[in-house]
């Protein structure tokens, strides 16, 4: 294990109250792949937003009467984003599996963790509320006469449905990923990673960005105010959940208590 990996793992363990646990190559490998996957996920999301915004803008510039042709392109972008996210998760899984296969001793928890134990109800409720709010806004804008705005709403709908499906798919993958542990400490660390992965997954960056980027037409309207209102309310609610919710380490330990 390299010195930087050792110190990064040490820092992560300390952050989650595992001060007595020694950094091991297993933990270092698992944490490193997660860091890389998260960075790649952020880049993918940024690329998707840029791609979607470019498609939207170019179609406005090229045709005064807004064409619906960009919709298949945007759908392809959503599908591309979902496939890429799925591949990233598969990569993490593959690295975990390879690390687990080398362990002479395997440890598991005798009780299966459900989504509520891993993600937590506050996060789940917030995610559903954020998606519902953004979807309701996009649907309410559809009957507006402005064709540019209508097309923007369609983009938001496609993006939200795609991103929602992606979250469900990835969360399922996370919950069903095998435990990779050699002792109690690495089992606890594994559950902490699961909780961290799940919380990072439901951060609603796309839900906040899509309406704010795409819901504008020839003039400003109530939809812009609602889109900004949703972002502000979402940021406040998300901040409150993050400060009030049980810390990741404590959530993982709670999940591990056999009921």
């Amino acid at each position: 294990m390299r010195q930087t990996e050792h110190s990064e793992t040490r820092q992560w363990l300390d952050q989650h109250g595992l001060t007595d646990t020694e950094p091991t190559p297993l933990l270092a490998t698992r944490l490193a792949v997660r860091r890389r996957a998260r960075l790649a996920g952020d880049v993918l999301l940024a690329a998707f937003l840029i791609g979607a915004a470019l498609t939207h803008t170019l179609s406005r510039l090229t045709d005064a009467a807004y064409s619906w042709l960009p919709l298949p392109l945007l759908t392809a972008l959503v599908v591309g984003l979902l496939v890429a996210q799925w591949l990233l998760r598969q990569w993490v899984r593959r690295v975990d599996r390879r690390a687990g296969a080398q362990l002479p001793r395997r440890v598991a928890h005798p009780v299966e963790f459900g989504w509520s134990a891993v993600l937590g109800r506050p996060y789940a409720t917030f995610t559903v509320a954020a998606y519902t709010g953004a979807l309701a806004l996009a649907v309410s804008v559809l009957p507006v006469s402005d064709p540019v705005l209508r097309a923007g709403a369609a983009v938001v709908l496609i993006g939200l449905v795609g991103a929602g499906a992606g979250i469900v798919m990835q969360l399922r993958q996370m919950l069903t990923s095998p435990a990779v542990a050699e002792d109690e400490a690495s089992l606890t660390a594994g559950v902490i990673m699961r909780v961290e992965d799940a919380r990072a997954l439901v951060t609603p960056s796309l839900v906040w960005s899509l309406p704010a980027i795409f819901l504008y037409g020839e003039s400003l309207g109530w939809w812009n105010a609602v889109a900004i209102g949703l972002v502000l309310a979402g940021v406040v609610a998300f901040g409150l959940i993050q400060t009030r919710a049980t810390a990741v380490g404590a959530t993982a330990r709670q999940a591990m208590i056999v009921r």
Binding site: P104, R105, A108, P110, V111, V258
Partner: protein
Amino acid sequence: MIVIDAASPTPPYEQLRAQLARQIQDRSLAVGTRLPTVRRLAADLGLAVNTVGRAYRELEEAGLIETRGRAGSFVTAAGDQALEQAHRAARDYATIIARSGIDPAEAIRIVQAALGQPATP
């Protein structure tokens, strides 16, 4: 926590069966707890599905767990079989006493005598 040591001379299915049985009997795994699916536990422990399946089958034969179709495998009350039998016998005894009209205090003295304990005044 379940530990499977590949270097141990005890076969993995027996390691798994023994640990689950012990946890069920000492109540670390409460009655009604849902166990992971065979496939899931096999993946977690890096074992073959058949190995975990065999351990589950033996636990089921011992009455420690029960499989309810697709709902999964659950810890049963069989860990406390003796206690359950005692409760059942006590209920039967109470029915006999009530039917025969014997005084409850006398009934308790009979039980105490049967247990070889001195009767309470």
